[in-house]
């Protein structure tokens, strides 16, 4: 089951959900409409799952920045969100999709216990200008079935992400850099 907008507001008021900064105007019928953060990392080299990804980092100017097809961008949500009670799904919204922008590259799940600024994997179908703090997507909250096992207790990789994280898959691969 998916929380409604008023359900999200109530769960935040009772402390079950963290959304910071929080703007009630960003609640939609069954999601919270999150914003793109100021920073992008640009990955335009050949990549290896066993090696840390090289990147350059840039701040999105107020005049915006043009995303190019064929390049991997790592962005970040302006908001820090989390819940020990609910799982989360992060997606782009229809407006962003209709501009040919993929957000999240097939990994939308936020585990129970996540409390993060989400790293966003962004890809453009054609050149498109994006702007800092623009509304970029939807975050939904899901009821869970079973005993919870918080991400915070799992010893997992991205427990306290404050900004953009490159992939740390290389830590898992034999022969990879640790």
């Amino acid at each position: 089951m998916i929380l409604t907008g008023p359900g999200i507001a109530a769960a935040r008021a009772s402390g079950e959900i963290t959304i910071e900064p929080y703007d009630p105007a960003r609640l939609s019928p069954n999601a919270y409409d999150w914003c793109l953060g100021d920073t992008l990392r640009i990955c335009d080299t050949d990549l290896d799952a066993a090696t840390p990804t090289p990147y350059s980092e840039t701040t999105i100017p107020t005049s915006g920045l043009v995303l190019q097809p064929g390049v991997l961008y790592l962005g970040v949500t302006h908001e820090r969100t989390g819940s020990e009670t609910y799982a989360q799904f992060l997606n782009g919204n229809r407006t962003i999709g209709a501009l040919g922008i993929w957000v999240h590259v097939s990994a939308p799940l936020g585990h129970q216990g996540h409390a993060i600024h989400w790293t966003l994997e962004i890809r453009a179908a054609r050149p498109v200008r994006v702007h800092p703090r623009m509304t970029f997507g939807k975050l939904v909250f899901l009821h869970c079935l079973g005993t919870p096992a918080s991400y915070q207790l799992h010893g997992l990789k991205y427990t306290a992400t404050a900004g953009i994280d490159i992939s740390r898959l290389y830590e898992e691969l034999a022969g990879g850099t640790t």
Binding site: D44, D46, L72, V105, S106, R123, P148, D165, L169
Partner: protein
Amino acid sequence: MILTGPEITAAAQDGRLRITPFAPDQVNPNSYNVRLGPTVLTYTADVLDAHQPNPTREFTIGPDGYVLQPGELYLGHTIEEVGSDTFVPLLFGRSSVGRLGLFVEITAPIGDIGFHGQWTLMLTPIRPLRVYAGMRIGQIMFFASVGTIALYRGKYQAAGGPQPSRYWRDVTKLRAVAS
């Protein structure tokens, strides 16, 4: 409702879902990590035809990995056989894999209740990316369902290894019905 990690483990033990092989260290708070199998298919024709079987080339990912190229579609598979007669499975990439610019499914994350087998992965990278057999590439989550259950009886049942599109088989049936 989405299952928690402890509930996935309990359901794997009592048979409400099946993950083979099952390893406790692949359980996440709300999903199970699946690994990339060694066999990969690419289509060999320049233009795919949804109404025809499309020829494929099969290769094996060696110990040094394999570089996936942008613009190509690779059909991979999970090592694990995963399915449930109770819950709805959803397959997604892992964030660590998304951050490498790799899509592991295309527009079809939702599985069917009653499908059991290795899951085909539809691999498309944004940048050239070296991948390795056995890497934890995706995650499967399970949702509780509402209503009477009618188990999957489709054309990909008990899949072993990557499966190319079999839409053509449905077309053949439609033509048989129409004639």
